[in-house]
């Protein structure tokens, strides 16, 4: 038991130390972002990798989430409160837009690309490629972290919007098959969704993108001890991203509600 508490304490200390380092990295990224040269090609490359190539997994996640939402809420509404299945559209679309779209997309992208970025930068670190960048007058934060940061923060909200649409369509599919007509589903969506619901999800997407980028880059740059270290950096990148996404999701929600968004 004490062993377990000790280990948890160690993890907590490590996590807090890492958070501090991430603040420094964030400052560094913001400082280098506006300095020349502008690495347009690198940014575009990362946008393709992080955004475009992630569409299949984002679609898969969103479609099935929308379907299960419709199935579960439809079943619950039908059995518990008779005759309210006309609200399925509202339940699915609001849940997708405000919560599941941004959070699940962020998780999937953290798993797919946060880990990849940590592994790539980590490998570059342990093979001295990061040192080589310095000797060739390219600051690694500028050359590696800035393009990834921009790509994550720009692409994640776009993927979120995309996931919202796909999830909604998944709900529509199940709803029209099992519960009510598609017209009722669409009407229910139209009457309940407001611009703020969409905005809220997009704002979350921006924050989650920044979190994944900073966590992944930080873990990559902090890699030591060869292949084992790269493995650890990759794991940490995903675990820390997940934790921070869920924690910040709560606080973002609180702020959005306070701002009436």
């Amino acid at each position: 038991m004490t062993n377990l508490i000790q280990r948890f304490g160690k993890f907590l200390a490590f996590f807090i130390h890492d958070m501090g380092e991430m603040v420094f990295l964030t400052i560094g990224i913001n400082r280098w972002m506006f300095k020349k040269p502008f690495d347009g090609k690198l940014i575009l490359e990362q946008m393709v990798k992080i955004g475009v190539e992630s569409i299949p997994v984002a679609v898969n996640t969103a479609f099935f989430t929308g379907m299960v939402l419709a199935l579960q809420s439809g079943y619950t509404l039908e059995t518990k409160i008779k005759g309210v299945s006309q609200f399925i559209g509202a339940v699915v679309s609001i849940s997708m837009l405000r919560e599941l779209g941004p959070v699940l997309t962020a998780m999937v992208i953290a798993g797919r690309m946060g880990s990849a970025v940590a592994a790539e930068i980590g490998t570059m670190q342990v093979t001295e490629q990061v040192d080589a960048l310095y000797t060739l007058a390219a600051n690694p934060v500028k050359y590696l972290a800035v393009p990834r940061f921009l790509a994550f923060t720009f692409m994640l909200p776009l993927l979120t919007i995309f996931a919202d649409l796909i999830g909604w369509a998944g709900g529509l599919f199940i709803c029209s098959m099992k519960f009510t007509s598609s017209t009722i589903y669409i009407e229910s969506t139209r009457s309940s969704v407001e611009a703020g619901d969409i905005m809220g999800g997009v704002i979350k997407g921006v924050f989650f993108g920044a979190i994944i980028a900073i966590v992944a880059c930080r873990q990559g740059f902090a890699t030591t001890n060869g292949a084992e270290g790269v493995g650890r950096a990759t794991t940490n990148a995903v675990v820390f991203s997940f934790m921070l996404i869920l924690i910040s999701d709560y606080f973002l929600n609180a702020v959005l509600i306070a701002l009436h968004i």
Binding site: P37, A132, A137, A138
Partner: protein
């Protein structure tokens, strides 16, 4: 040696990694145009010295002077100016795997010097020829090259901007004898053809004797002797003698 003009000077450098003292009050001078070889067992801080000269590590105490400027007090932009005069050849070449041979060698020319691609291609071809590689490699990725070729590309990248100083980290480690010898010849050629100052870190004594004007031996965080290859070969210092003869008998513990 060129009237013994000092181009690199380390002054009372100390460096700790955690609790481990890696460099303990080291002072070292490198003269313009010479090749200084730093020898010593693995893990004694040879590469750490190189990283201090390249400005990749900052000492806990002491000063690093390169070409009349003190590195540890400079801003990154100023260090980058100094790095224009400096090429670093890393132990495992440290080529960027995501870039082609051309993009690697031309990295600084394209990004920092804003050289037009057509012009950069000509420079890269010339540099590859200088290190004994053909220009049909230009579009290959580092993973498609052999270890020896990678090291040569790494050298070509280091000399792309015509540096006055080249730092070599274990240039022959992990290479077969023929490739090693070719790298040794290259180091000599760079000195002869381009007049560069070189600092070579190695534990390959054959290579050290061949390329060095002077050799410095480091042990336990300190420099325990410097001299010409001949002087080091004849040294009566028990540590140096044990190292250069590669003997298990002597004061150094065999770990």
């Amino acid at each position: 040696m060129n009237g013994q003009k000092t181009i690199i000077k380390l002054l009372n450098i100390s460096k700790n990694f955690g609790n481990r003292k890696v460099l303990d009050n080291i002072s070292l001078e490198v003269f313009a145009g010479e090749t200084l070889v730093i020898i010593g067992r693995s893990g004694v801080g040879k590469s750490t010295i190189l990283k201090h000269i390249a400005g990749l590590l900052a000492p806990d105490a002491g000063e690093v002077w390169v070409d009349g400027q003190e590195l540890t007090r400079q801003k990154e932009a100023e260090v980058n100016e100094l790095r224009k005069k400096m090429g670093v050849v890393f132990q495992y070449a440290a080529l960027f795997d995501s870039l082609t041979v051309f993009e690697n060698v031309a990295f600084r020319l394209l990004r920092d010097f804003r050289m037009p691609v057509a012009e950069a291609v000509e420079v890269v071809k010339k540099k590859l020829e200088l290190v004994g590689l053909k220009d049909n490699l230009l579009d290959l990725k580092p993973a498609q090259l052999s270890g020896g070729m990678r090291k040569r590309v790494g050298l070509a990248r280091a000399i792309a901007v015509d540096p006055e100083i080249i730092l070599y980290d274990e240039p022959t480690s992990g290479l077969d004898p023929v490739s090693s010898e070719a790298i040794n010849d290259l180091i000599l050629e760079m000195q002869k053809k381009l007049g560069v100052t070189s600092v070579v870190v190695t534990h390959d004594m054959h290579s050290a004797y061949k390329v060095a004007n002077r050799i410095a031996m480091i042990y336990d965080g300190k420099i325990i002797g410097t001299g010409t290859p001949e002087e080091i070969k004849q040294s009566q210092d028990p540590y140096i003698h044990q190292f250069v003869t590669g003997s298990v008998e002597g004061p150094m513990p065999v770990r």
